[in-house]
Symmetry: D2
Subunit: 392 residues, 4 copies
């Protein structure tokens, strides 16, 4: 087992850990450890909510979750020699649950507190608990399915530079300003409430808490990409924006479907990540990797060969209004079509919604130019069900 650089105690909140992590992005959050290129090490992570959700059948913790606390991240890790303009090469060597914590949760957030992709259809909070059986998971809340996890960090990223952070805050403020009272909100802006910044206190804490970007969206630094294929064995090439790169991570998902549609949507878990890091000097310019990370998936993703595929187009399901090449809407329609199908198998809409969010479904932008309809597809691997689900 590689050396553990970041350890968590699941009984304590992030700020009380021996080595506290953080839940905002900022270049000035101090690193908790430094490693050399070539190093291999382990990082332990709490679940993204910092332990707010319990292993029981009551969704009230999902309903009442404090979203200002998310995502609690482990790090930052300083990589010696990394400088702006380099590529930080990160191998995800392994990921797993912590001993004694072999379970995870998925949920539907209430429309008033977070919402999700289908919040207009499913506005009430719901929860499903997933037990891990080695590579497999099942849920007592969604019977008849068992699948292998495509475990991944929902969130992994490097620190932004001051300039990049300023750009984020500006553009997101401008978006929120277009509809400041929307529910759910259009973006989460810096908010000192519930902010954790390692062991910082005092004026420096106050300054950074006021400036630090929220961790919800993926951005140029990687961050909360929620890419299910960034799983075991992947190699990621991150653009480096600050000295030391400052790598942080968390939000581990035992499994997730493309889109992570229910928002609390992967099977959320605490766990560990084993990493190897290296540097490609000057790699950003050399390879044109300047806007976002690039990665190579690993070779042990769960492997299916039969799928049932649902299509969706960009016509609003309520009004029938035609939208222009709207892939978001097209994917929503594909998901709704799949849910209608799953209902004919006996699932409730909420169960089907959480299943699409957690199982290794493939969400594709199949056609994006055939005006005015985008065509998105959702492919469900049929082997996750304990019976044949194809039409006869």
């Amino acid at each position: 087992m590689p050396e553990v650089l970041f350890k968590v105690d699941l009984t304590k909140p992030m700020e009380e850990q021996d080595l506290p992590g953080h839940n905002r992005w900022h270049p000035d959050i101090p690193a908790v450890a430094a490693v050399n290129p070539g190093a291999m090490f382990r990082i332990e992570c709490k679940d993204w909510t910092d332990g707010q959700i319990q292993n029981n059948d009551d969704p009230s913790d999902i309903r009442d979750v404090n979203l200002k606390r998310v995502h609690v991240l482990s790090g930052p890790i300083w990589v010696n020699g990394a400088e702006p303009g380099d590529l930080l090469v990160v191998d995800i060597l392994d990921i797993g649950a912590l001993q004694g914590a072999e379970w995870g949760f998925a949920g539907i957030f209430a429309r008033e507190n977070g919402g999700g992709f289908l919040t207009e259809h499913y506005p009430e909070a719901a929860k499903s608990i997933w037990d891990f059986h080695g590579i497999y998971t099942t849920s007592r809340h969604i019977p008849g399915v068992r699948f292998a996890g495509i475990t991944h960090p929902g969130l992994i990223g490097v620190a932004p530079s001051h300039e990049l952070l300023a750009k984020w805050n500006k553009r997101e403020r401008e978006l929120v300003a277009t509809d400041p009272h929307r529910v759910p909100e259009l973006a989460t802006l810096p908010d000192p409430t519930s902010t954790v910044l390692g062991s910082l206190t005092g004026a420096e804490y106050e300054r950074i808490a006021a400036e630090g970007a929220r961790t919800v969206p993926p951005r140029e630094n990687g961050g909360n990409c929620d890419i299910k294929n960034l799983s075991r064995g992947s190699r990621i090439y991150f653009p480096v924006f600050v000295k030391g790169a400052k790598l942080s991570m968390g939000d581990i998902h035992f499994s997730q479907g493309d889109g992570e549609i229910s928002f609390c949507g992967g099977i959320e878990m605490a766990g560990f990540i084993d990493l190897h890091v290296d540097i490609i000097k000057g790699g950003m310019a050399k390879y044109g990797i300047v806007n976002n990370p690039v990665f190579k998936p690993g070779p042990v993703e769960p492997h299916y060969s039969e799928f049932l595929v649902f299509e969706g187009i960009s016509v609003d399901e309520f009004s029938g209004k035609q939208h222009y090449l709207d892939a978001h809407l097209a994917y929503r329609r594909a998901c709704l079509n799949a849910i209608e199908y799953l209902k004919t198998l006996g699932y409730t809409g909420e169960q089907a919604y959480m299943l699409l969010s957690t199982a290794p479904v493939e969400g594709r932008i199949s056609g994006i130019v055939d005006i005015p309809n985008a065509c998105c597809t959702l492919a469900i691997p049929t082997a996750i069900f304990d019976r044949d689900i194809t039409p006869k």
Copy 2:
């Protein structure tokens, strides 16, 4: 070889074929043939432009293409016993090129005549010709790549009912009305110019030509879905909207990347499709398949295990403006990131654009709930290149 129900002569335009097809959707276009459930048959198809593009190095035919002629379709085929409410089960048993026509084309439409996904970046017409070598293709216009085709009908669908057609026309007219002079246009509305409706003439032709929906977008009837995975061996379940179902198809692609981003984007070809049809009586209600077709992909898709994956988020590349969970924009950014990478390998932007449009790249909606950024990914199979393209 199964019986050929629809034959094409590549030297003649669609209206001069012995059995002319059609290029609009309308319930009253007469069927050209009738088959029983259980039938197996072959349909030949012209390329979607009806032969407007030549196998040469001059993109002026792409620039000047008459888009009112698209898509020339083969059909409709009447399936005996199919009635509204049923599911039409269509197996795509095989697809291939016509003898002597073992080539295809991809192109970038000029912004003023069609445009495409990246038309703000690549507004000029361009063309690439692809030669087929059995399962493989190469292009003299994009050196250094060779890949196996994931051949599929870009367009396959059943006839709409009168009610459904009226709904389409209404919603699309309303969209166009929001910005009637936009270039490219927001949608293509019914237009008698260049309309082909089988052997219809006279008043009936005039009526249908005025009402018939254009074939550009995918809709409830399937249609121009441009789903690359609807390839050899797939089984499709179509909702049936009219008596006889009236199945039509065309727009064969030798290969296509997810999104078909350059619009004239798959490797467009003439060819044949071998089909088997069957009916599930009352299947629409039984399986909740009411909005769009559902399908099972076949087992012989080209199979890759190594990919380089590019991410994109919903921030506008020109203005830096933050958009809200816009998967269209996020996929555009992922494509642009990939193009920048491919440029470091020596490709021009146009070559890279056409490569992403034609090669079997995977376009995924990876995260769709992490406000305000959608995260889309574009995965390029590295084995299509004649050298190692990963960063070192």
Copy 3:
């Protein structure tokens, strides 16, 4: 379509073709065509028996087949510039059925005339006819299964040198001499009966017919390897033993399981093969490819993810006698175990035997050192059945 270098008329025996092929291996059989490195061309092939088997339900043609006529091959093709010591690089670009001949056969040879892997268990002749439906096949003689073909030339090889031919004849004669009256025979030796040698006649014919090696076994030149994975898209590196390389091929199988256990065991068909050839000068020494061809499989093999796997060990099923690391016996036991299982699903032993021989089953040497038992495994893709076949 590439130029057809070798054409067949299915109504005529091989010696009456416009350009007759051959059914023995010999360096002096004249080439029928010459190509340059870089050439792409099509070769048509008769089925391996030269049309002796009919599409009907009567196995008497299998029982009475003239095995001295096999395998009728198309070629030899002379490759300009190829010399002993080079590698001949052959791409199998495509393979398919001939128009109007979309069917194949598999059979169990009678013990007295050919036999097969399980001839002690199934000594009587049997036949199954397989109809092709695009990429799929079904048999009216083995209900409940449908699978995609992994089409390949059972036989493809280059001409031996005189020295190599002499070595073959010597070693095979010595083997036969150890038990000259065995039924089935231990090897097939040169035999002028039914020999076809292109358009040769007279003394040269007589000489070569007396010396020419039978085509039954795979040897250093490739030949009748019956490797199912040598399918569409494969690239083969052949050692070159004679000037011009002299490439020949035939024995096309629409599909075959590993081992081709029933001997007439793949789904035998007439068909075409599209090829591309090239040369690596001096490649034999450079890459150490001196004993047998090496190949890279193509990317469009039918692709399954669920298998039921049967094990076998090297203990004789009749006597219970322990054999020493005998993989032949272990694979036989694995096949017999699979057949017993398939019988519980309602198949006869003969049906199951032919199914294992034709469907894309994987036969593996799993353990070969655990004295005294070899462990071989046979993996059946479960998706080829129209129902769930796993134990419950």
Copy 4:
């Protein structure tokens, strides 16, 4: 983490463990724990040699290994309700290394002490140490390769009945009697030396030690099958021969190639196995599973799409003698062909031999009926190398 039913202390030999396991097969070895159908539990295992091999560069421990001590197994586990005639359904939920022991070894046994598949070619002892990096492994003794483990128990099986044990001993004695002084020996017979039988002592120990079958070969009970695909996520159906089934296991391999050709051939490790067990009453007769276990592989095997494939035929490499359909010999020739190829890349023969034994190579019985040559193939996934190894 499931309850640990069998714990090992790597610093102590098997007989000194708190709960000692066993290294012989016998129905009367007492069970160490009992579980109900439906139970999930963890079993820890020592490496198969009981810790005789050190993590260093000196192969003398391989040379001098005491093979009478192998394989030290964890168990037997009694499954309540299991009776002869049932099927024991065992799910391998997970497998991994023990904390602090993230390494393994492979070796070539000296001809005089064990030997291996190519012992006539490589008669001297050799050793390679493999370090685990999450899902990947590398060896300082075989540079330039890295691959993901297809981790599996080389040995897992149920207890034989007295009758079955007697049959084993009889048939193996008869084999040894045919050449009792052969080096390596033809089979390993019961031998009290170094026998461990749980906590048994006294007369019962003596009796069972004299009768107990060695664990080297796979047999009707499963046992040392060394099937690499029996990896994470597999479900095995064992025939039950004694009350309680008495399941035992060990010989964990981090990775292994088909055949495990160097005998000490997988990457041998200590580790844990998480299991789930169930029973199908009367399943042996119902499914015809009477001779050997049957299994379904799991969905997370390392997944490759490009291979270089080497063929071999049954002609002896020393004498040139033709053997009759000898798959053992054909696979040996395929391995030797691959080794010659790997030598041109700079590897020694011993390195190449150990690489084929440890990396996830596929060994197939491709053709087994083409008299007199069996054709076996060895497929090496090219992605395990840090450079392109295909011929150019």
